[in-house]
Symmetry: C2
Subunit: 281 residues, 2 copies
């Protein structure tokens, strides 16, 4: 499979400072996977099994921490990724932090306060469903604070993430890239299925009307906050199977790169002594 030669995922990784024009990136692409959809599903399942095992080692080692940031427009698949990519993984080692409209108490603090409280501890994987990036996205598009305030946040975020990385957190950020047509179709799917209507929020149509402003805000995020220590990946997300395969691949590669070691075992003498204690009862 070509996908294993070199690293096709590098295509989706944003280089620091790279200029991004989302209109030029095809959200329907499935280019890095050489094969049919069914093969991709099978490959993703295998990656899921690897992820499960790597998570167990991460948990056992109790040293590294992994932070996964998911961002994207409504219906882009943030919930779907959590369900599909992480569902097989032991819930004890994976935590999801969903950042919704801030509460009054949260608004009484700086925007990174509620974020910092949720970063992963040793051995833990934490998934951010939305994140501090909303404070340079929705906050910017709706002019909730002046540009002088949100404008300096890119650098603040880079410094914050750098500190986390220096302290041992692996950070991977995924922008789920869909287009207007795909979003329309997904809204219609929700409206047309009574079992899915609860997922549809009329307010989402107002956000959709601001699509261009959001894309511009996302381009700035991607250009200014993709760093060596906390890279952004732009994931073509019109096709769910492809989106899941890309993210699973990046996660498994990143965890493998940590070269996780199981904690030191006991010496033969120690082991024998514990066995003897049990036998002597």
């Amino acid at each position: 499979m070509d996908a294993r030669k070199g690293n096709p995922m590098d295509t989706y990784r944003v280089k620091p400072g790279e200029k991004i024009d989302l209109d030029q990136l095809n959200p329907g692409s499935t280019g890095a996977f050489k094969g049919e959809k069914e093969e991709a599903l099978a490959a993703t399942q295998k990656l899921n099994a690897q992820l499960e095992e790597l998570q167990e080692r991460l948990y056992a080692e109790h040293k590294h921490r992994l932070l996964v940031v998911l961002q994207g427009m409504d219906t882009s698949g943030k919930d779907g990724v959590i369900r599909s990519v992480f569902e097989g993984v032991n819930p004890q080692g994976v935590r999801v932090a969903s950042f919704k409209v801030p509460t009054p108490a949260e608004l009484d603090h700086d925007y990174l306060w509620r974020i910092h409280a949720q970063v992963p501890g040793r051995g833990e994987i934490v998934i951010f469903n939305r994140s501090h990036y909303e404070d340079v996205l929705v906050v910017r598009v709706h002019e909730l604070v002046p540009e002088a305030v949100w404008g300096r946040r890119f650098e603040q975020i880079n410094h914050f993430e750098r500190m986390l990385a220096d302290e041992g957190v692996t950070i991977l950020k995924f922008f789920l890239h869909i287009d207007l047509d795909e979003q329309k179709q997904r809204f219609l799917d929700r409206l047309n299925d009574p079992a899915k209507q609860w997922k549809f929020n009329p307010g989402d149509l107002k956000e959709r009307a601001l699509w261009k402003a959001y894309q511009k805000a996302y381009e700035d995020v991607l250009e200014k906050t993709s760093t060596p220590w906390a890279p952004w990946y732009i994931v073509p997300a019109n096709k769910k199977w492809y989106r899941n395969w890309v993210i699973s691949t990046v996660l498994v590669e990143a965890l493998k790169a940590l070269e996780i070691k199981l904690p030191p075992v006991f010496s033969e003498e120690e082991t024998a002594s514990y066995r003897a204690q049990l036998a002597a009862e």
Copy 2:
């Protein structure tokens, strides 16, 4: 299958005030499942699929909350239950709270402080891996506070759980019942497998030496804190497949009993209007 007639799980549910003698309860029992181990594994898998669907409805409804408390001696299978029973469930709706040795900040507060902070919110399932019950178990056995203090906690806990239940939390508590021989075997399995040695903690042998005191403390917990609003189940846990089947069955029955309704959908007029807005772009 006989197991579906009446409710065999009632056998394991402790009646309020019931006298418990753990020595009289067989931890190796598999009595409520009429069939072979393989059939039980298949049945558990079906229950897992049901649990997955019920969790999604719980999350969508955003009303009920489920608190699952897991207690048991070392190696009794608390981690195993989390992995096996909940692994297929969407991590976004399930959260695990593990209560270890309290931190200095936690010790500066009452014993329910750290517990209260972790109870489930609407639509959420939270699993307590150990819990406030440690404050009448390890705390009692090691005499960390005088009897006058731990002795009044049973009633305090009942009041606390009653408040939670009144406010809409469904509470299910499971004591994973194994015997000394089974624990010895599981310790040896850990010692004999280098990939599992990290799970063995030499301090566990000291706790094992206090087995009788712990069993007595558990009997008091089961007798005094199994209430109509927060019942205890004594789960025969020597056989992992049986333990998982029992807990899955109780969980699925409890969630079904909530008669979870999906949130109200839009009227036909509303749906048509949203469709029109999308079409008119």
